[in-house]
Symmetry: C2
């Protein structure tokens, strides 16, 4: 419809892809969804809005990033108390409480949706973005083996999409928690938050901050020594033991992390490391925590994080503990596409353009297209009966690999691979393209 | 995370599905997407927000239905001028203008996204809903054959999803336009709007309104006679001619509608009717217009509508004419699922539950699951080594058809179809379920 000459500029932090880039995104989302489903996770989608009081109970940073939603013509009615969700966890918790009588526990769900945060946009940080979450929640108790299962699913996803080499870093919050208490530090959360800055400010400054917050230089050194432990096998246990600290929570954490890493070594070899520096800022994690980095792109930070929590939600009668992990889809794609590292071979799903001899033969061309589609070959009919050279350029511009000529071979049809120029007889009821050409190829460059 | 005891009630007009219902929705969306892609439409997604002045330029009803979006902590900054989009057309028009230099025209795109309208919720009307749109837009001129192509795509979608029998009603705005002018009525849009009320208020009242607006009783009868014409072949032309009205625009419209119906008869027999009552309220349609009804559920109204427009957008230099059609996904599903007409056979993608003999054999069970997944069979491992009867009930509750017993046959595994009770030897590297059990079945009831 005719729109006025209003500005058509992008809005910072609200990314949009061109068709070929969108094909990369779709492929990534398809891999994520198929993998989540192969692992037996059920899809849910929650509404985009939640009551603001539910969103803003989630901690200091949440409030100022919330987008409020209200009817433009509504005035001060109830809707002014809604906000767009900023993650999948708050709506999922509410969904579990609302439907607890209709769900089968342990409940394995995945959720791939947009979320919104009013933060300052920067490279890889968006105000509107897609996240892909898996969680397993149970009622009352959650079996610990689920903490070992999560990274296997993530390793499976990233093994199927051309992101390059990656590593899932795992820790257990009980390890620093027990360790800090074992050396006489009582402010566990405060200490974690300082150690969490290691990547940003380095060990010198972390030590200074720890001492400033009341630790002795020896205690600070012990904290740094723990955080420096990173192994791709079970040797982290001996290295922690060598620091000579004893605490029951530390024992529990080491045992639990051993199970996670042992499972990873068996079923996703080379993909998991025990990294005792990983903490996750959020204070609701109580057990295993995860982060993920791309090797060679560590400065991009973690693309996929999560952990175990004792209470996703509670309705007074029941508590719902769980474990979950979240893939930052838009963040990953923004960086991979923005850096030109991943591309699609064409800008349309069509593998074939059916050429038009003349306007009168459109019906014949549509019949060919219908037959190809019946056999799941995506195609389109040329928009006009232009010269064949022009029709071939139409296909070229979009990256469509094949042009079909109905009746070109006298009694039969012919199909041309416009990359090689090779043209051969073909029958729409039996011809198949190379499987690699059937759908757009999404590949990593370099 | 632990949330306070805030209310967990649904929000009217913001529907959410349970996992089995979501499987129905996913299947429908998969059919729509696959069909759109087979017909060579490229996917795009636009951001959820647009500047409010762009949204509110779209006509009288739009304004009061817009949801405004602003940072909760933002005060009066620029973001207060954004709103959630209420359809895909406004954002698509802006996307075309913004990216016109990077798109290949004619541009065939599909867009499956959520939209938001602050209208009063009622059966089949939602405030948050998913739409699936296809459009073809070109620069300057659009070839008329695209108007015949749109309903073929829609017929293809609805033939593959168990919605029951449907009919696509087609008209061309030039027919009533030319006809009204031919009988001496000059307020074409006003007359269309009155005739458009036929379904709601009946012919008597429509005639009264027409006379009230200045038509003679004879003119009003002519309008009603035109609107009563509905044929599933080309005989509508003779029936219009029999009314004895002449106008060049009427000739153009009849010729164009003949092409659309002729194409439908050839490639989607029985799915299209020429229905000269169809008008579409929106005044930007200039040629073919479409509506779709389910037979036996006419009171549900149209689920899929659209038409041809001369100017999707204009940037001063170029105008972008196009033709499009939009499927009301949430509307269809809300009614089909709400009426119990379509269901899924299970609430999880998993086809197999791998049973656990004891806790020590979890690694063996995970290895079976990994092998099944490698072969694209969705499965999960039992959450605990409970008695087998309890593990089978776990599968039953979710509708998982098969339970796998590693090592049950002495040296080998066995798999049980828990519906028939039949248990047979099986090897995870070669066993395949019946294709009908591989993914959840989505079926129409009655």
């Amino acid at each position: 419809m005719s729109t006025p000459q209003a500005k058509v500029t992008p809005i910072s932090g609200f990314p949009e892809f061109l068709p070929a880039e969108r094909i990369v995104e779709q492929r990534f989302l398809d891999v994520i969804r198929e993998t989540f489903e192969l692992h037996g996770f059920s899809s849910i989608e929650t509404r985009s809005i939640e009551p603001i009081e539910r969103l803003s109970s989630q901690g200091e940073d949440a409030d100022k990033e919330i987008y409020a939603v209200s009817r433009l013509a509504g005035g001060g009615d109830e809707e002014a108390r809604w906000g767009l969700h900023f993650d999948m966890t708050v709506p999922f918790a509410r969904y579990v409480l609302e439907n607890s009588g209709k769900l089968a526990f342990p409940f394995r769900r995945y959720q791939i949706q947009k979320a919104w945060r009013g933060e300052r946009p920067q490279e890889g940080r968006y105000r509107e973005f897609t996240q892909a979450d898996i969680d397993v929640v149970d009622v009352g108790q959650l079996s610990p083996h689920f903490e070992a299962e999560m990274p296997l699913v993530i390793a499976d996803v990233f093994s199927k999409f051309p992101v390059g080499e990656f590593v899932i870093q795992v820790n257990n919050r009980k390890i620093p928690n027990g360790f800090y208490q074992g050396i006489g530090l009582t402010d566990v959360i405060g200490t974690l938050r300082i150690v969490d800055k290691l990547d940003k400010i380095g060990p010198e400054k972390v030590k200074a901050l720890l001492v400033e917050s009341g630790a002795t230089p020896e205690q600070a050194d012990q904290c740094l020594a723990l955080a420096a432990i990173r192994t791709d096998d079970l040797s982290f246990v001996d290295r922690v033991r060598a620091l000579g600290v004893e605490h029951p929570l530390l024992d529990e954490g080491l045992e639990s992390l051993t199970e996670v890493i042992r499972t990873g070594m068996a079923h996703a070899p080379g993909k998991l490391v025990a990294d005792l520096r990983i903490a996750r800022g959020l204070d609701y994690y109580t057990g295993t925590v995860y982060e993920t980095q791309f090797i060679g792109h560590e400065s991009w930070g973690s693309f996929c994080s999560g952990g175990r929590y004792d209470a996703l939600a509670s309705d007074g009668r029941n508590t719902y503990p769980g474990v979950g992990i979240s893939i930052g889809v838009t963040r990953i794609l923004g960086l991979l596409i923005g850096s030109g590292l991943v591309t699609a071979s064409r800008s349309t799903p069509a593998a074939v353009l059916v050429a038009l001899k003349d306007d009168a033969s459109r019906e014949e061309a549509v019949a060919v297209a219908t037959e190809l589609r019946r056999r799941r070959i995506a195609c389109e009919v040329a928009p006009s009966a232009a010269k064949f050279g022009k029709q071939i350029r139409y296909a070229e511009r979009r990256g469509i690999p094949f042009v079909w000529f109905p009746g070109a071979g006298g009694s039969g049809d012919e199909v041309k691979d416009i990359r090689s120029g090779e043209q051969v007889p073909a029958d729409a009821s039996s011809w198949l393209p190379d499987p690699a050409d059937l759908v757009p190829a999404v590949t990593r460059i370099g």
